[in-house]
């Protein structure tokens, strides 16, 4: 019985995988900093690339990544037209710290809160940071788990690659 289940599972995966292509954003609602619901599919950037970065106020590498990019964000925007959307997975323990932290840090990103990780689950995010790059059609063309110093250079290369 188990073998049968596994083989059905494997076959269906195999046949379905032939349809696979670049990910789209799922239709999931997140909250903005006022607490209003926003469907993530409504994100847009006039046909320019969008970076979606999952983070949390308690995550050191996430903050390092976003603080590092914040220093060069203006240049990135001018050169490539990119927009960064930072999605916090802080739950009700720390969600109220998101806005004060973001403002105090002077981040110019678009910020949303995914308090019960519905969007994270819909995009296959299990740990933070997890960064996605979307092309002009809103398709995910690149993604990266974790952050180590210098990873922002690779992200910029990827952005430049698709904004040409």
């Amino acid at each position: 019985m188990k073998k049968l289940i596994l083989s059905i599972f494997a076959i269906s995966l195999f046949t379905l995988s032939s349809y696979s292509q670049n990910k789209n954003l799922p239709s999931v609602k997140v909250k903005d900093l006022k607490g209003k619901l926003v469907n993530i599919q409504s994100l847009e950037n006039d046909g320019n690339p969008i970076v979606i970065s999952f983070w949390a106020t308690w995550c050191k590498p996430c903050k390092k990544e976003l603080n590092t990019i914040a220093e060069v964000y203006e240049d990135w925007q001018e050169d490539t037209g990119v927009k960064l959307v930072a999605i916090s997975i802080d739950d009700s323990r720390s969600a109220s710290k998101v806005k004060p932290y973001v403002n105090a840090s002077g981040w110019e990103y678009e910020i949303y809160i995914d308090a019960n990780r519905e969007l994270a689950r819909s995009m296959g995010v299990s740990t933070v940071p997890h960064t996605f790059l979307l092309n002009s059609n809103g398709k995910v063309v690149w993604e990266h788990k974790g952050y180590i110093d210098g990873d922002e250079d690779e992200l910029l290369e990827q952005i430049e690659h698709i904004s040409k």
């Binding site: 289940i5 900093l33 607490g35 619901l37 323990r93 806005k99 019960n116 990266h144 180590i148 250079d153």
Partner: protein, 554 residues
């Protein structure tokens, strides 16, 4: 078994029925955690079973097409890692769902995670790190009849390990976004009102006592944004829910309540938060039993969530049966090009958090004893201290290649209360912790980072047992962007009261990251301790051995 087979067939065949207008999409992620266990009696690591290697793994799969999404998770515990409950055993598909949206109505059948408000009366979620998953199995509807009004309804049973609760949970939530309802969008102020109701049905099979079969809880909430100021308040009430003990003194018929007040202010360069809560007898469970794996509400812990090892050695945990606490933060960025700010600016975070007992203790009511009272919702003086943490974090970029993060903290930890030990065993442990974290960029992509941490602790003088005493910790990490990391760390319990426990816990790890895949191999000793995420904690046993972690998404 037949059920699983049925759900797979249903799940996969459902896709072929759809028209070809919108493309079919498949995404998912996979995670594997394997650990070997060697005997190490010095640290208290003994073999779990005759088997030397344990493994946890899961695969999430999501398939969507147009307005339809279906998903499942295959979980494998062969056998579960020692820091998981052994009731996670074997393989299975405990999570599968189908959902579609049609003209604003969202229908989900199968498993789902849901949260009402901040979760005071209802939150189901998963946290793989904690081995926690209380997913619902049943039906969920979401509907927005007019712009600004959002409704949710749920019915189902909550998951515990590979089983579902006997209790049936029913609930509804409404949220009104006032300015959307009135068409006043793009204002600097905003008001959101919310209300939720949750009820659990479980038949009363207790031969001795009459127990409520329908246990209700409700909450109301208000979220106000006014320019730079934001307020969030929530009040929750739960009717009596005795655990069904066969002895009279074991059944508490008191109602529960909780009050949350959060106030924040922020402007460019400055952020201030003040959060507080009062909780009395507010544990809400999917079954009439006093076990924490049945909890279906979430009362967040009021303290900073530390990630440095020694700062998190004595973590706070919410006492949902009775606690008053507050947590305040100041975030400030000293502007760049000032004396203290330097070329890049300096970031400060000052945090103070404190929790204590409520006056008179947890409400208690039955025929032989009664302590229902309206304890003051804001009282510190004269109450038993549970936890406090006063800390300052300074984050500074010195120049293009050096970054510095410093933390100084003073913590008090009521080990008896927070770990459920007999009162008077350990009492309150006071500790002072210092952390220095420096990273140095050697050349493009190559960075070396070092953490030095020290903890000096003071035992409670009037107790029978000794805490772990003083610790040092050192970590060195070398990273090569974008693919490699190497790390070695040593935690040294040099100040333990018992000489035999003055041990080193050395760990090494190597990781390879590429795109959406991450591989890590580690070897070393882990200390036994309390591991917490978001205020929910678990006890982790000590271990010595190799570990392998693979994480991937597609």
């Amino acid at each position: 078994m037949k059920k699983i087979l049925f759900s797979i067939i249903l799940f996969t065949s459902s896709f072929t029925l759809f028209s070809q207008d919108s493309p079919l999409e498949i995404i998912g992620n996979f995670e594997l955690n394997m650990q070997s266990y060697s005997i190490d009696s010095a640290i208290g690591a003994v073999e779990p079973t005759p088997e030397r290697v344990l493994n946890n793994a899961y695969l999430n799969l999501l398939i969507s097409k147009g307005n339809f999404t279906g998903g499942l998770r295959y979980e494998s515990y062969l056998n579960a890692l020692k820091d998981y409950d052994p009731q996670y055993k074997g393989n299975g598909i405990p999570y599968r769902f189908a959902t579609y949206t049609s003209d604003g109505l969202e229908v989900t059948v199968g498993n789902y995670y849901e949260q009402f408000g901040s979760g005071l009366i209802f939150r189901t979620y998963e946290d793989k790190g904690l081995g926690l998953d209380n997913a619902m199995d049943g039906i969920r509807l979401k509907y927005s009849p007019v712009s600004g009004l959002y409704l949710k309804g749920i019915i189902g049973q909550s998951r515990t390990y590979f089983d579902y609760s006997e209790g049936i949970i029913r609930g509804a939530d409404a949220e009104f976004i006032v300015d959307e309802l009135l068409g006043l969008e793009e204002q600097s102020s905003c008001a959101i009102l919310g209300a939720s109701f949750v009820s659990r049905f479980q038949s009363d099979n207790n031969p001795s006592f009459v127990l409520p079969e329908n246990v209700a809880a409700f909450s109301t909430r208000l979220n106000l944004s006014f320019g730079n100021i934001n307020y969030y308040g929530e009040y929750a009430h739960k009717i009596n829910d005795p655990v069904g003990s066969m002895v009279q003194s074991g059944n508490n018929y008191a109602n529960g309540k909780a009050i949350v007040n959060n106030l924040t202010y922020s402007q460019k360069g400055l952020g201030i938060t003040f959060e507080s809560h009062f909780v009395d007898h507010m544990e809400f469970r999917s079954e009439r039993a006093q076990k924490k794996e049945y909890i279906i509400n979430y009362i967040p812990t009021l303290s900073k969530q530390h990630t440095y090892s020694l700062l998190a050695l004595y973590p706070c945990a919410t006492q949902s049966e009775g606690e008053f606490g507050f947590n305040t933060n100041i975030f400030y960025k000293i502007p760049r090009k000032t004396v203290l700010g330097g070329k890049y600016g300096t970031k400060l975070n000052l945090n103070f958090a404190r929790t204590n007992s409520i006056q008179g203790g947890t409400s208690f009511l039955n025929d032989i004893d009664s302590l229902t009272h309206n304890a003051p919702i804001f009282k510190i003086k004269g109450e038993t201290l549970y936890f406090s943490d006063f800390n300052l974090e300074v984050n500074k970029k010195i120049n293009k290649s050096i970054k510095l993060n410093l933390v100084l903290a003073q913590q008090t930890y009521n080990k008896d209360i927070l770990e459920g030990k007999p009162i008077g065993e350990y009492g309150i442990i006071k500790s002072t912790i210092a952390v220095a974290d420096v990273s140095y960029k050697i050349k493009k992509g190559h960075t070396i980072r070092m953490e030095l941490q020290t903890l000096i602790s003071e035992d409670d003088p009037n107790t029978t047992e000794h805490g772990d005493g003083n610790w040092h910790m050192i970590l060195t990490e070398y990273t090569i962007s974008p693919n490699w990391f190497f790390a070695i760390q040593d935690m040294y319990n040099y100040g333990n009261y018992y000489e035999s426990k003055r041990l080193h816990y050395v760990n090494t790890s190597v990781g390879f990251l590429k795109g959406a895949n991450r591989f890590a191999i580690g070897y070393g000793k882990k200390r036994a301790g309390i591991f917490c995420v978001g205020g929910v904690c678990k006890e982790v046993p000590s271990s010595n051995g190799f570990s392998l972690n693979i994480s991937s998404s597609f």
